[in-house]
Structure formats: structure tokens, C-alpha cells
């Protein structure tokens, strides 16, 4: 089942959704867009420690992604 993993102070939250359900997909897309608008960076896990992060202008919901990790916006230390 596809999932969104959102990094947060709780050690991240995981939200699974049914890719065959249009309601779930619409909700997942809304969540994706909301997080990206807040500055989160979406990274699709590709297995074996590999990830794909779309360019800043191409960060749109991919309904085929099995796992997307949302990284909060970065700051310098």
C-alpha cells in the first residue's frame, strides 16, 4: 500500500492510502500539495537506499509512487 512519510518531531508520521480508491488518491494529492506549499521537499523512495527528488518546479503528486518521504525545508546551522 502506498504511503506518505512526513518528518516531524514525533520521529515522522506515516499515512497509508489505497491507490485504487479515487477518494484516497484525491486526499493524498491534497496532502502532497499542502506539504509542498509549506516548503516540504518530496523524495520518492526507489529502494536500495535510492531516492528521487523532482526539480523544484516539478514537484507534483505522482500517484504511482509507492513511498514518498517529505523532508521539511532546510536551514543552515
Amino acid at each position: 500500500m502506498p504511503r506518505h512519510i512526513i518528518m516531524d518531531p514525533s520521529g515522522h508520521s506515516t499515512i497509508e492510502f489505497d491507490a485504487a480508491s479515487t477518494t484516497d488518491l484525491a486526499e493524498a494529492e491534497r496532502r502532497f500539495n499542502k506539504l509542498v506549499a509549506k516548503g516540504f521537499i518530496p523524495a520518492e523512495a526507489r529502494g536500495e537506499g535510492k531516492h528521487h527528488v523532482p526539480d523544484q518546479s516539478k514537484r507534483v503528486f505522482n500517484p504511482d509512487a509507492e513511498e514518498t518521504i517529505f523532508v521539511p525545508a532546510l536551514k543552515g546551522g
Binding site: 518528518m7 536500495e48 523532508v71 536551514k75
Partner: protein, 130 residues
């Protein structure tokens, strides 16, 4: 008599507040430990086999920057834990950047790995040298 009663009540109240503070503090500590464990589990799931072996053995792992091909070492931690690596594995300049929010170390290191391996320039733009 009334003074004694007030004194006893005050002491009782202070004891109760102290006990409540202690319970709240231990809850915070437990939540923090749970967050650290979850973050670490997510990091380990997302390291490649070589990085996993390196992290298990030494508490750090190396990544290759997506744009420059430069190597970086990410040590266990949440800040001032990323350094460039020379060809002979000596540590070079430190690059301090991290995700916003108070994240667990595992999540923070995973974010640093993902960004350097995919959007090196975006990460280095905000990073401070140390």
C-alpha cells in the same frame, strides 16, 4: 490552628506539583526516546547496504553529491555533522544544514543524505561552513 492547616495544605500542594512535574518530564523523555527510535529505524531502511554497514560499524556514512560528485560524510547527530571528504578520506570543510523543526537524529541524517544525493546545490545553498 488555621495557620497550621494552611501550612499543611501548602506543603501538600507543593508535593503534588512536584509529582506532576516529574510525571510530565518522564513522559517528554519517553516521547523523545520513541521519536529517536522511529527516526533511526527510518534511516536504516533508507541507507544503501554499504552505508548501512558503514553506519553500523562507525556511526557515520558517506554519500556522493548529485551535482559535483564530491563525497560527504554524515555523522550521527543533528547539526555540524556533515563534512566534505578528500580523496584520501580526510575530513574537509564542514557543511552545516538541517531540516527545520526539532527532528530526531535519524530523520535529520536521512534528510541530509536525500538532499546531498539528489539536490546537492539546494542543500549547499543554505549550508553554513564550519
Amino acid at each position: 490552628m488555621l495557620t497550621w492547616l494552611a501550612l499543611v495544605l501548602l506543603v501538600g500542594l507543593l508535593c503534588w506539583v512536584a509529582r506532576l512535574s516529574s510525571i510530565l518530564a518522564s513522559n517528554d523523555e519517553r516521547q523523545q526516546q520513541e521519536a529517536e527510535a522511529k527516526g533511526l529505524a527510518l534511516l536504516l531502511e533508507n541507507l544503501d547496504p554499504r552505508q548501512r554497514e558503514q553506519y553500523d560499524r562507525s556511526g557515520y556514512f558517506d554519500v556522493v553529491g548529485s551535482e559535483t560528485g564530491r563525497r560527504y560524510r554524515i555523522c550521527h547527530g543533528v547539526s555540524r555533522n556533515v563534512s566534505e571528504l578528500f580523496d584520501d578520506n580526510r575530513l574537509g570543510a564542514g557543511r552545516c544544514f538541517m531540516p527545520r523543526g526539532n527532528l530526531a537524529a535519524g530523520d535529520c541524517m536521512l534528510a541530509q543524505k536525500i538532499m546531498l544525493e539528489n539536490c546537492e546545490e539546494e542543500a549547499l545553498r543554505v549550508a553554513l561552513r564550519f
